[in-house]
């Protein structure tokens, strides 16, 4: 079949095969379960790296198409729904990010108990949704994969979570489903205006080319889609699922959720909301800019007073993801490139954070920073990892956060409008607040004296934990030290969007 000659489809097939493989194992054979999971994750990683190489080769060979590796197969004739695939620079790096986090996530849940088989089954179903979302360029397929990614979350938190898990799982799923409802409406609206000549289509590229959505409709559809994805991107005031959800989720799920799933929000915002409805984005984008600006500062201030490690990190995610949407709404190359870098950076470092928190929690059985102290003595490896994650989060040069934030700030400040520049200055202030809450945690948790004598007997990281965190640390350092490599991949992908927005201004 022709469809199987496209590498992209394998990003869906491999997780599905892994699920099939896992279904054959039994819960007693933990070794077999691990082997299948690791094999699946490794194949995905190899595929992702291969994809980056293919992408670079295509671009190097002068292929300037907006999307490469495109392919389209009819799925449901009457509605013109297709399985349309294609990637640009942004999707390529997002797929790479997802592969990294899935890989690290498998190792972070090495000792998952109970029901390891079922856990990995749902985990890979979630990955299927995530990868499917990033490779699709058809509204219907995107939405379908989006839902595939959301549903397993309920079970993963509800069954394997900790603390008030039923409440959190329900809250998270319901709020995200609420977002999907908005999104669904938006997508239907877009579909019915997708073409001026009556040949309706779901393909994003075609819709953008037709540019047939009337401005009056855009005013309705833009907020619907933006809020729909904004809920997932933890935009103020729809961020409230994030602290509870992350606090209850098991380690690997937090990693995948904060690391990748929240990026679906930012990705969707520009790929669907802004790309397809530039006129509305121009005229009412400032409302959302204000909201995301609030997110950035608000999340950072909230994080300052939390005492639960996961809550701190969840609020910090609100702040950092706010920065993603904030930069996307600046509508210029630099800021949008910065947004994607920030997605990468935040994905990796939050995954690292959650992995480390999970490992510390697995040992101390508490996440309250008031009950811990001096962990650096007891578990130096995890301590150093935590410090590196913290430094990446507060934007230290050489780690990923710095490159991303600087690109965002400098890009946003290039905006000709004074309102945007003042907001940028306000957003920039978050770097100090971030330093405050990160150092507060580091000082309380890692430094100082040991609070609980029982903690003295705890052990440092095991090999699989080291592997999981080292993978993420390496990726964080790679982005921080060689940002240009990623910027070159990402930057040109924004040409269509920025051109469309520029054309409107003329």
């Amino acid at each position: 079949m022709e469809i199987f000659s496209n590498i992209l489809i394998y990003f869906v097939i491999v997780p599905l095969l892994t699920i099939g493989g896992l279904a054959l194992t039994s819960n007693k054979g933990i070794k077999a379960i691990r082997a299948v999971a690791v094999a699946g994750a490794s194949v995905l990683m190899v595929l992702a790296i291969w994809l980056v190489m293919i992408f670079l080769r295509e671009r190097g060979a002068g292929n300037q198409a907006d999307m490469i590796l495109t392919g389209s197969w009819m799925w449901y004739e009457p509605l013109n729904v297709k399985l349309a695939l294609g990637v640009d620079g942004v999707s390529v790096v997002m797929i790479l990010l997802s592969a990294f986090i899935v890989f690290a996530g498998v190792f972070a849940s090495w000792k998952m108990n109970p029901l390891p088989k079922q856990f990995f089954l749902w985990f890979f179903l979630l990955s299927t949704g995530v990868f499917g979302f990033f490779i699709s360029i058809d509204l219907f397929t995107m939405f379908m994969f989006y839902e595939v990614a959301l549903i397993p979350m309920y079970l993963l938190i509800g069954v394997w979570g900790s603390g008030n898990k039923n409440y959190s799982a329900m809250k998270l799923t319901l709020m995200l489903m609420g977002g999907s409802a908005f999104l669904m409406l938006g997508i239907i609206g877009i579909y019915f205006h997708s073409s001026a000549d009556g040949q309706l289509t779901m393909n994003i590229l075609e819709i953008a080319k037709n540019n047939a959505i009337p401005a009056s409709w855009q005013m309705w559809l833009f907020p619907l889609t933006f809020i729909g994805f904004g809920v997932l991107g933890a935009m103020f005031p729809f961020h409230t699922w994030s602290p509870d959800g992350h606090a209850s989720a098991p380690t690997a799920v937090s990693m995948l959720h904060a690391g990748v799933l929240m990026k679906l929000g930012g990705y969707g915002c520009f790929r669907i909301a802004i790309f397809l409805m530039p006129a509305a984005a121009q005229s009412i984008g400032w409302i959302f800019l204000l909201l995301t600006g609030i997110s950035i500062v608000y999340g950072a201030f909230s994080a300052c007073v939390q005492t639960d490690l996961k809550y701190i990190n969840a609020y910090s995610s609100v702040s950092h993801c706010g920065m993603v949407l904030f930069a996307i709404l600046m509508f210029n190359h630099t800021a949008m490139t910065g947004a994607v870098l920030q997605m990468l950076s935040h994905g990796l470092m939050t995954a690292l954070f959650f992995a480390l928190i999970g490992m510390i929690y697995g040992r101390t059985h508490t996440r309250d920073i008031r009950e811990m102290g001096g962990m650096m003595h007891i578990m130096p490896y995890l301590g150093v990892g935590y410090v590196i994650a913290g430094l990446a989060s507060l934007g230290l040069p050489g780690l990923s956060g710095f490159a991303a934030e600087m690109t965002i700030f400098f890009g946003s400040f290039q905006h000709p409008d004074m309102f945007h520049r003042v907001l940028t200055v306000a957003a920039t202030c978050s770097i100090v607040i971030t330093a405050v809450y990160i150092l507060r945690v580091v000082a309380k948790l890692l430094f100082g004296v040991v609070q609980d004598e029982h903690h003295r007997s705890l052990t440092d990281a095991t090999w699989e934990e080291r592997l999981s965190t080292a993978t993420l640390i390496l990726a964080v350092v790679a982005i921080g030290c060689f940002p240009n490599f990623f910027i070159d991949i990402i930057r040109d992908s924004f040409n269509p969007i920025v051109d469309a927005l520029q054309a409107l201004k003329m």
């Binding site: 329900m170 809250k171 319901l174 709020m175 103020f236 005031p237 961020h239 409230t240 699922w241 509870d244 608000y298 201030f301 909230s302 300052c304 007073v305 939390q306 190359h333 630099t334 001096g374 650096m376 003595h377 430094l391 507060l394 934007g395 230290l396 040069p397 050489g398 710095f402 490159a403 600087m406 690109t407 700030f409 400098f410 890009g411 400040f413 290039q414 520049r421 940028t424 200055v425 920039t428 202030c429 770097i431 100090v432 330093a435 405050v436 150092l439 507060r440 000082a443 890692l446 430094f447 100082g448 004296v449 940002p483 240009n484 910027i487 070159d488 930057r491």
Partner: protein, 651 residues
């Protein structure tokens, strides 16, 4: 030369990685010796670069090599590179010298009394190497963005080293404080860069400030013409913000509060980072951007006023401190303020002052930076030796140590004489030129700074006497205090020698704002006055503190209010504590977190509750009770029958 400079950077970085990753696997001493060896090679290379530059490039042009690092836009590119010009070559020498001394000294200092290296020895050397790398990277930065990056990096290494004894709560607080305060300053630095690059569209120093003339700066300022924000030109905002960034690192009032606390780190670290090198990063930054500042008198005046005030403030506080490291820290703040002021007074109203000696202040500032690094490092290392011997920072645990530690005492005395500005020691020459530059700007400036110079002499000799004389030493520990092993004494001797002779370096020939040699002559009117004032200060200190007597106590009681205020650093820490804890933490963070829980979260929970309650209310309809179904069915049937009946009748 470029290759060598890059090597100078790479070597410490490799040492950092190597000792950081593999250090735990090797014996502690080996790690230390490796660190010292690596630093020795770095120093040799750095000297080679500096000599090569000054000998082979008499025009003092800038030598620049760059690689692109981060392309913000095709035009606005952040580069990484090396820039060699007089001040960076000079800084290479200063940093590598002091760093080597500190590396060597730490071999002895970081051991207990049996000569066993402390826990974390490898980590210590790895962090020292990281710091050296960052600081060297800072001074060779080719663009303001690279400068910013290394500002952050030195901030990090300072954080790590202050918190070296991370289980001590004091160190733990101090490093947090240092990082956050300098981070706040760096925020302004970043904003300044953003404003500056908004219209100039470049980070590069050669495009922003150039060297040798004002053309580049004039062009840069020209592009920002007409941009205003709240009535102040954008370029003014940019430069003031950048100065705040520098002020944070250089501990200018009111951002100085982190530096005294930073003394919680090991003493060699204080000598390297918090006395000689990192704290002058701000001065270096202003010096690098000097032509721009000259063209914007408003920004220059801010620098001058802040510098002059800080110099006085810190000197006043230093006069009453009892912890010798804190006293030295305030002395450092005061001396850095001297350098800042000196830079700022060399221009007024957009033009350089001083006729054929134009830019004297710039040269004097760099000269003082150079000499100060040497003698302040010396003083700190002496303090370290003393602390190592008596296990306390408080001067009432010391007294009368001259008899026990003669070498340390003499080295400390040389440092004191140098900082007080007594000829022929190094400080005299540099401070004299600073004062000349101040008098050039105006009599008031000159008198003010001369007064501070007098206070400097007073408080330094106060410390000296209280440590080494005052009364007979009471031995508190099991060992008698004594001079330390050669690893610690050798750096003292080397630095003391440099402090004696460094003043005779014809600095004006090498380092000037435009690369053209500047002939300096000692202005004996100014020099005479300042030496006179210094001698008065020393005499006063001798009268009060040389031998035990009740005069200081009486003075303290007579001015107890002032004394306490100065001892408590004029309550700046309390003010900060109030702002951060009461206003920001209690007044902003807590309410926001509360708002989030109660309103945002509450709203969505209420929404869910509402849905739940509504379902609960109507759930009886589907109660599963057969009989109620049947009843409703019956009612419905009757209703339908009635309607049908009525309809039939109507028809």
């Amino acid at each position: 030369m470029i290759t060598n400079t890059v090597l100078v950077l790479v070597l410490p970085f490799v040492m950092f990685l190597f000792l950081g990753l593999a250090g735990v696997k090797m014996p502690r001493k080996t790690a230390g010796v490796l660190g010292v060896a690596g630093m020795l090679v770095t120093t040799v290379l750095a000297y080679w670069v500096a000599i090569d530059y000054f000998v082979n490039h008499p025009q003092h042009e800038q030598i620049i090599a760059n690689v692109d690092w981060l392309n913000f836009t095709p035009r606005l590119v952040a580069r990484m590179g090396v820039l060699i010009d007089p001040i960076s070559a000079m800084m290479l020498v200063v940093i590598s010298t002091v760093s080597l001394m500190v590396h060597l000294y730490s071999l002895g200092y970081m051991c207990d009394h049996h000569g066993h290296a402390e826990k974390g020895f490898q980590r210590y050397y790895s962090f020292l190497a990281l710091f050296t790398f960052s600081m060297l990277g800072l001074v060779v930065a080719t663009n303001i963005f690279q400068m910013f990056i290394f500002f952050e990096m030195v901030g990090l290494s300072s954080y790590l080293l202050i918190g070296f004894y991370y289980s001590l709560p004091a160190a733990n607080h101090a490093n947090k404080k240092a990082f956050i305060v300098t981070r706040l300053a760096d925020l302004f630095f970043l904003l300044g860069i953003m404003i500056l690059t908004f219209s100039t569209g470049t980070f590069d120093f050669d495009a922003l400030v150039g060297l040798g003339n004002m053309d580049a700066s004039q062009k840069a300022v020209g592009t920002m013409d007409g941009l205003n924000f709240m009535g102040i030109p954008a370029v003014g905002w940019a430069l003031v913000f950048i100065f705040i960034g520098g002020a944070g690192k250089s501990a200018m009032y009111p951002l100085h509060i982190w530096l005294p606390d930073a003394m919680e780190g090991p003493t060699p670290v204080s000598a390297l980072i918090h006395a000689a090198t990192m704290v002058v990063a701000g001065v270096f930054l202003i010096a690098r951007m000097f032509p721009l500042y000259v063209l914007v008198p408003m920004a220059m005046n801010v620098v001058a006023v802040v510098g002059a005030f800080t110099a006085f403030y810190a000197a006043a506080v230093a006069c009453v401190q009892s912890d010798i490291k804190r006293a030295l820290a305030f002395s450092t703040i005061s001396q850095i303020a001297f350098m800042m002021t000196s830079l700022a007074v060399s221009a007024d109203g957009g033009k350089l002052l001083g006729g054929h000696e134009a830019g004297l202040g710039y040269m004097a500032s760099m000269f003082h930076l150079f000499t100060h690094a040497m003698f302040k490092a010396l003083l700190f290392l002496c303090a370290g030796a003393i602390i190592h011997a008596v296990h306390s920072n408080e001067n009432d645990q010391m007294h009368g140590l001259h008899k026990y530690m003669p070498i340390t005492s003499i080295a400390f005395l040389i440092g004191c004489l140098a900082i007080a500005g007594i000829p022929p020691f190094a400080g005299f020459f540099s401070k004299d030129e600073i004062l000349v530059a101040c008098y050039e700007r105006g009599l008031g400036w000159g008198l003010w700074m001369s007064m501070v110079a007098g206070m400097t002499a007073f408080y330094m000799f106060r410390i000296y006497y209280l440590i080494f004389f005052w009364k007979k030493h009471e031995v508190h520990t099991e060992h008698e205090p004594a001079d330390q092993p050669w690893t610690m004494t050798l750096p003292l001797i080397i630095l003391a020698t440099i402090s004696c002779v460094a003043g005779f370096v014809p600095f004006g020939k090498f380092v000037t704002y435009n690369g053209a040699p500047l002939e300096t002559h000692i202005n004996w009117t100014v020099a005479g006055t300042s030496v006179g004032i210094a001698l008065v200060g020393i005499a006063l200190a001798t009268w009060l503190y040389f031998k035990e007597n009740p005069k200081p106590e009486r003075m303290k009681n007579a001015m107890s209010g002032l004394w306490t205020a100065a001892y408590r650093r004029f309550y700046m820490d309390e003010l900060y504590q109030f702002i951060t804890h009461k206003i920001i933490f209690q007044g902003i963070c807590k309410p926001i977190a509360w708002f989030d829980r109660i309103f945002i979260d509450g709203f969505f929970n209420k929404l869910a509750d509402l849905t739940g309650n509504a379902s609960f209310a109507i759930r009886r309809v589907q109660g599963g009770n057969t009989q109620s179904y049947a009843f409703v069915y019956l009612l419905g049937a009757l209703l339908l029958a009635a309607i049908t009946g009525v309809v039939i009748v109507m028809i």
